[in-house]
């Protein structure tokens, strides 16, 4: 045994004082010969790399997991995977913290006491869970009201997600409701203008100019890694070009920070700015005449084939979006508008990105329609470097559901949230109205609620209403790996296995063009806790209900289900097993020439290849397939100027009223990548990353312009109470020029009551500020139009936020000071 130096020095002191107080020699010796070294000694072991797919967000990045003696110790991107390309975002990097999290739900838990605390739950076996839950489901079905079961879920492109939807409709309920609606406004815009039901795909790598209307595409897109990779290619220098990127928004986001230019606009006027640009393009004759003539409808006023006569875009722009007016409403100078319009035109390929801010923040439909209009005017619809339409993965249909019987009867009921075209809504899901329907028990009461990876008590636009609604549901089951706010209010918590512990099949995430099927098998043989995958849970519940519900699945366990789907993909006769960049180019070239060169001959070979390399995909994209990408009644791109017109008037009135009201500010919400989609604060590496632009960590803050702060008597790092018609929260003040004077910006994703030791009670939830207001056009919650008042406040006395006085006291020279004292650039 040795004495190491540091201990040696310390020991010399100890020896003297030890002698002074008469410590025994034995004590000293035992102290001495303790190997005073690191408190942890990670054991070595055989190193292996195994593949999986990250599912901490819907992106579905293929990952390669480094295991030592079977223990995962590092997660990196799978280099062959077309979404991750060997890269990974901070959430994916931190995903081991969700595997080894000390506060994972250890096994099925049944609530026996008050809602809201894990102490009220007791651990049960899976059999006990299935007996009770299955029994409950059976009895609901026997009573002939299967429609009273509701599934509220996240929109993951995973097997569990598909199994849940399938289970619910086979059971006999139309109430399959999605909670995260980040892509919904953009999808509706695409549906209205192009007749296509999917999120837009931006061909960033091949474009030269990006005009983003407040989009957070670099922070929290459908797949943050894929967007960042695309951005890297957009900025790359291989071809000697370097694309220009202009961000239009009222709060400089991190996406905006990566831009070449930030155009600060009045809150909520990004769409108006876009139409101002459109008006310049039309006036100066800088638009794509060929595309408009051949493939667009509604540019000129008058009747269009297949739809009613109406206002044309040109007339609308001339009448309402004159330069002076747009400049006045947005606060952007006429010169800047003119310059951007001309740059947009001059670029070889240019792209306008709609205002989706994150997985929970879809942006206003008006702004998305404006973005679409601009994309059509510059003629980039489905062109290289333009706006593409995703191709679906050829997953084979699962057995057809019986048209008769209790299931079919139940499905005929109207949805509780009134969403979808039958309910007369543009949105596909309306969780806030679902909460209302649960409370009013109209049109029918809810008997059974399944929360699958959904936390409406935190991540919906009406957290308080959901807290009340969930108490009115007789039976709630939450499938969740963590004690989320909502799980703590459920009757049962069924722990979902971590992605490293389960079989899964992920398809293309929103925002990517290519069909994809990533196959993952468990990296760990046995889950670390008594957890099961949601696909397993739904399959088991289907068996317990029996009959047509059980036979709604083509297989009875997840790997066979995945194999079934992969066999269907084999039958589609296209694409290839994930390969190297060379393989990709080869497949593209072959398919471009009309050949299919798959590298596998049988379904078995595809299956083996998919397991070995990560899955299957088809990199080939056929541009300007008009019949596929323009599926409106007219078969053309429709500008929908009527819709824009109606909303524009309403918005103009609202904005005028608001800008005259100096005591209220516009609430701008954003989602930091590390906590986007309502998940991330649980993992302790992530709350430290919220926004590297300032010092706030592990807490919520409000960004306030220096002038506004002065008016309201607020100082930097002080506290402010922010109130709206919906509620109020107290957060830290950050005085910054990153936000315009008329707005206050707050991050979403914190403010949980559950979520384990790190997430609990960290920061505040700004969704509490949203009232009942809706985006007038889409019917989505009005995530961008809330008005708030500011008031100086006292900080919390305990908890993470209470240590304002400590700020920076021990940190030595901070980066900011470094910047001030030195000239960075020589």
């Amino acid at each position: 045994m040795k004495i190491e130096r540091r201990r040696f020095v310390g020991l010399m002191l100890g020896a003297t004082s030890g002698a002074a107080v008469g410590l025994s020699a034995g004590h000293l010796l035992s102290k001495t010969f303790a190997t005073a070294d690191s408190p942890y000694d990670p054991p070595g072991g055989i190193e292996e790399f195994r593949l999986s797919v990250c599912s901490l967000c819907p992106g579905g990045c293929g990952v390669r997991v480094r295991c030592i003696a079977g223990r995962p110790v590092k997660v990196d991107g799978n280099p062959r995977h077309p979404v991750s390309g060997g890269r990974l975002c901070p959430k994916g990097q931190a995903s081991l913290q969700s595997l080894y999290h000390p506060d994972r739900i250890p096994g099925p838990m049944r609530r026996k006491g008050e809602r809201g605390s894990l102490a009220s739950f007791e651990k049960k076996t899976w059999e006990e869970a299935f007996v009770e839950i299955g029994g409950r489901l059976r009895s609901i079905r026997e009573q002939g009201k299967p429609e009273s079961a509701v599934l509220l879920r996240a929109g993951a492109m995973s097997l569990g997600s598909r199994a849940g939807s399938r289970f619910l409709s086979a059971f006999g309920s139309p109430n399959d409701v999605r909670l995260d609606r980040g892509d919904e406004a953009a999808s509706i815009a695409l549906r209205l203008t192009q007749g296509v039901k999917s999120a837009p795909v931006y061909d960033l790598p091949s474009t030269d100019y990006v005009l983003s209307l407040g989009s957070g595409f670099l922070e929290a897109s459908g797949s943050p890694v894929a967007s960042a990779r695309a951005f890297g290619e957009f900025r790359q220098v291989r071809t000697g070009r370097r694309g220009k990127f202009v961000q239009v928004e009222s709060r400089l986001s991190l996406t905006g920070a990566a831009a070449d230019e930030w155009i600060a606009v009045h809150p909520g006027t990004e769409g108006i700015f876009a139409l101002g640009i459109a008006s310049v393009l039309v006036n100066e004759d800088l638009y794509d005449r060929d595309f408009i003539a051949e493939h667009a409808a509604g540019f000129e006023s008058g009747p269009t084939p297949g739809s009613k006569p109406g206002l044309g875009l040109r007339a609308l722009l001339e009448r309402d979006f004159g330069l002076e007016r747009v400049a006045a409403e947005t606060g952007v100078s006429v010169n800047v508008i003119l310059r951007v319009a001309r740059e947009l035109h001059a670029a070889r390929a240019s792209l306008v990105v709609g205002p989706r801010r994150g997985p929970l923040l879809p942006g206003s439909l008006f702004d998305h329609l404006a973005a679409q209009a601009l994309n059509a005017l510059v003629g980039n619809i489905d062109g290289e470097g333009g706006l593409l339409v995703a191709e679906e993965t050829p997953i084979p249909a699962w057995p057809e559901l019986s048209a008769k019987g209790p299931g079919a009867e139940g499905r005929k009921h109207s949805r509780l949230d009134g969403a979808g075209q039958n309910g007369g809504k543009l949105v596909d899901s309306d969780p806030e109205d679902l909460a209302g329907a649960i409370l009013s028990k109209k049109p029918y009461p809810v008997e059974f609620l399944i929360l699958h990876d959904a936390d409406p008590l935190h991540s919906s636009a009406a957290p308080a209403r959901f807290a009340k609604a969930i108490e009115g549901v007789p039976f709630t089951v939450s499938i969740s790996a963590f004690p989320s706010d909502s799980a703590l209010h459920a009757d049962w918590i069924l722990p979902e296995a971590h992605f490293l512990e389960r079989w899964d099949l992920h398809t293309t995430p929103p925002g990517l063009s290519f069909p994809l099927a990533s196959v993952s098998k468990p990296v760990l043989e046995h889950p670390l806790v008594d957890a099961r995958s949601s696909a397993e849970i739904f399959l088991e519940l289907a068996k317990r209900v029996g009959g047509e519900v059980a036979s709604a699945f083509p297989a009875s366990d997840p790997p066979s289900l995945i194999r079934h789907d992969m066999d269907g993909i084999f039958a589609a006769q296209r694409g290839a097993v994930m390969g190297t960049a060379f393989d990709e180019a080869w497949v593209r070239m072959m398919e471009g020439a009309g050949w299919w060169a798959p590298g596998y001959r049988t379904a078995e070979e595809l299956w083996k290849g998919a397991l070995e390399f990560g899955g299957w995909w088809d990199p080939f994209y056929d541009h300007e397939e008009w019949a596929r990408v323009l599926r409106t009644p007219s078969g053309k791109f429709e500008f929908k100027a009527d819709l824009l017109d109606g909303i524009a008037k309403e918005r103009a009135q609202k904005l005028t009223a608001e800008n005259g009201n100096a005591t209220e500010l516009s609430l701008v919400l954003f989602e930091p990548l590390s906590v986007a989609g309502g998940f991330g604060a649980e993992l302790p590496f992530l709350p430290a990353l919220l926004d590297p632009g300032h010092e706030e960590r592990w807490e919520s803050w409000a960004e306030i312009h220096p002038e506004t702060a002065k008016i309201h008597g607020l100082r930097d790092k002080g506290w402010v109470r922010i109130s709206s018609a919906g509620g109020s929260i107290v957060v830290r003040v950050v005085v910054t020029w990153r936000v315009v004077p008329e707005a206050v910006a707050i991050p979403a994703g914190l403010g949980k009551r559950g979520g384990g030791r790190w997430a609990r009670d960290m920061g505040a939830n700004p969704f509490k500020l949203l009232g009942a207001a809706r985006d007038p056009l889409s019917g989505l919650p009005d995530f961008q139009g809330t008005r708030v008042r500011l008031e100086k406040a006292q900080g919390p006395e305990t908890g993470p936020g209470a240590m304002a006085a400590w700020h920076g006291s021990d940190s030595g020279l901070s980066g900011l000071e470094l910047q001030n004292t030195r000239n960075f650039r020589s």
Partner: protein
């Protein structure tokens, strides 16, 4: 002997901080808490430093600069260490030997880039997080200084692999965890002594600059930042 170094293209960087977390996982950095973070005691070997420009002016902008250890060729930190716990190793990397460090923190003060960090607290990995620790790097005890090692253990592994394959080490064999993870591919890593390496080529760009170059530290991390639009490299 190779001269390993990094080039970071700020025009491609999206400030996502994947590098920060990749490094923390790779190098067994314990999770912080709100309290340690508040006190500025949370450890990150690479972090993003905000750099605002044109505040209040017409074209305000914000740059976020990832700052790892610069592995200076003339490091100020090694000169002040009283116990030779930090030295320039054979590979030109500035190494930190935790077992020697007595925690005097002269080096944290000497480093102009403030990338050296002191372990104020005992590292804690609540059960069962310990199972995720990498056996390649020791978990530093309380009372020592630590910093970015350019994932030195990865260099050693890459050398072993190359030697076992009977060939010299090639570009791409050795990448620190941050570089490997970087989603937009903003970070490049390689040998500055090899004129054909990517980093050598990038370092010649007119967009290239170094941090605090005037101090004579000769950092081996080079940054690229834009000229005008339409610029090249």
């Amino acid at each position: 002997m190779a001269r390993w170094g990094m080039v970071i293209d700020l025009d491609r960087c999206t400030a996502c901080q994947a590098c920060v977390v990749a490094c923390q996982v790779e190098n067994n950095i314990p999770p912080a808490s709100a309290r340690t973070a508040e006190r500025g005691r949370a450890i990150a070997w690479i972090r993003l430093v905000p750099f605002g420009k044109g505040e209040g002016g017409e074209h305000p902008s914000l740059r976020l600069i990832p700052v790892p250890c610069m592995h200076c060729e003339h490091p100020p930190c090694t000169k002040v260490c009283p116990v030779h716990a930090t030295q320039v190793g054979d590979d030109g990397l500035v190494g930190q030997v935790y077992a020697r460090c007595i925690g005097c923190r002269y080096c944290t003060t000497a480093c102009p880039y403030t990338v050296r960090q002191f372990n104020w607290d005992r590292p804690a990995f609540p059960e069962p997080m310990e199972a995720g620790l990498s056996p390649d790097v020791s978990v530093r005890p309380r009372g020592v200084v630590e910093k970015c090692s350019f994932c030195h253990h990865r260099l050693q592994n890459a050398k072993d692999a190359a030697r076992a394959a009977g060939r010299p080490i090639r570009e791409g064999d050795y990448l620190p965890a941050c570089v490997e993870s970087c989603p937009p591919g903003a970070m490049a890593f390689g040998d500055f002594d090899d004129p054909r390496s990517t980093v050598s080529r990038l370092a010649e760009s007119h967009r290239a600059f170094k941090l605090l170059e005037e101090l004579g530290t000769h950092p081996k991390v080079i940054y690229l930042s834009k000229g005008e639009w339409g610029g090249e490299s």
